[in-house]
Symmetry: C3
Subunit: 214 residues, 3 copies
């Protein structure tokens, strides 16, 4: 249990760093950077909890706010040097993705939703924070265009369901699911695996599918 | 009842297609397009359910996720050819708008809110999905600048209230309201009716009304 | 009590005007301007109420919708002349900020949350409407880059907590807190006090901290 919490905090830290560094690229002040970091770290879980009708998890204990503050401090103090440990940050981020997916799945399961809702909640927990981050810094969400990210969560959710179906012990299911998500994410980036892209239509400077009836 | 569900599904399909086609214009991958399509189709109803304190409707049965998947498949397979049936899609979209407005109004009414909250909930159900879609693809929401869209929902909500006030049978009220919204939407586009635009102020490169006290 | 309500309405009006004027700079139609004005005025409180599990305050009585309509009417009628009373609008906005912070803090306190959640809820009530406004008009949120705004709410929240800790009468705490927020906000703008900015990293055209493992 303590180990899970440690990994959860590491994931939170990595997500917060990702948000703060993007805010930094946009020349945000410390407050703006903190907010973007926090939203990246807890935004997905917050949407999940609101959809499930629960009190958002970060309102129940202040750890997540403190971890985000540490992440901000880290970026302020170490700044440039963080680029050199990008691979480390990427591994942390992948670990966070795996852990967050499991947490989201289980919270949804506990409320009593069917497996497909649990898969969505796991995916939201892992991936929605990044979408909110990109919306706040006024960019098109990265995960809509670039390699496998949320898909790793979706596959992980299905694996979790399979483990439960096979009556595996809960801790075993968690480890298998989180490991799968982390592995898929790392393999996807290392092997440049990505989803097909939709081709833009020719006449879309109109940018509006609802044409007038003429 | 079955007929209403069919129309609801058609509306969902049309809304999802609209989101997926805009995602396509931005070169999103299949996952990104699916998310944008889903948010366009169920986003308005989700905001409504959260405001009303209800479990979001699409978490109670998987139809809406499946319909969005069908919409994605349709765009992948037929792509370019969809442009040729723009008028058909526009009619579907208008039908969705009318139906969604009625559904939103009734859900809010069932919780016991006064008529003006019901009108807002009907309008949110019909129009908020498109606003979320435009935020996700990083565009200024279309309905804030172009012809009558949400206004059709607002007028529809008032008509629904009028029907109830006149003690009309519920099914009758629904048909009248949905038809009105559809008709207003189609007429507005056909006759190029739109709301007046606010003129931008001259000194607004500042883009900030709060000037320092000097 | 009546005086507090009056100040709350004045704050709502000022916030709505700020949203409508920014929508005007983007050439929105009347409906779009109304929505942006409303979101600016009630958005922060709505997020707060959703996080606290309460029914959003503006759904319980129509005053806030009516005040936003008056704000829209004011911009339509007086338009250009509003620029001349920018200082007045700034004072109104600062008053709104102070009042909204107190309201948010107290609502959260009444639900039984610890002081740090109350501080966040006060800050969200005062500052989140402006972030939603900037997201809707597709701009980077102003308060992430420019002078002291949300920080005034945070300091105010801590002062409120200090007042309670010192067993001050509730009305006294409210007056002290709101006055502090207003004063900090005005002093920050007058003396050009702002937070340090994060320096953008050199290699961030990549705009993505998760680099591939090579």
């Amino acid at each position: 249990m303590t180990f899970t919490i440690l990994l959860d905090y590491i994931g939170t830290f990595a997500f917060a760093i990702s948000g703060i560094r993007m805010a930094s690229a946009k020349k945000f002040d410390w407050f703006g950077a903190y907010v973007v970091g926090l939203v990246t770290a807890v935004g997905g879980g917050t949407i999940r909890d609101l959809l499930l009708g629960l009190t958002p998890f970060w309102m129940l204990q202040p750890s997540y706010l403190i971890i985000t503050a540490l992440a901000l401090l880290t970026v302020i103090v170490f700044g440039k040097h963080l680029i050199k440990i990008n691979t480390t940050m990427f591994i942390f981020d992948a670990i966070g993705l795996g852990l967050f997916t499991v947490v989201g799945y289980e919270k949804s399961l506990a409320v009593g939703f069917p497996f497909w809702v649990n898969v969505i909640m796991g995916t939201l927990t892992g991936a929605a924070g990044g979408i909110l981050r990109d919306t706040l810094i006024n960019e098109v969400p990265l995960i809509f265009r670039k390699d496998i990210y949320a898909i790793a969560c979706i596959i992980g959710g299905m694996i979790f369901f399979g483990c439960q179906f096979a009556n595996l012990h809960n801790a075993t299911s968690e480890v298998i699911t989180a490991s799968s998500v982390i592995l898929i994410r790392i393999l996807a980036v290392r092997c440049h695996i990505s989803l097909p892209t939709l081709k833009g239509e020719e006449n879309d400077d109109e940018n509006e599918p609802k044409l007038p009836i003429t």
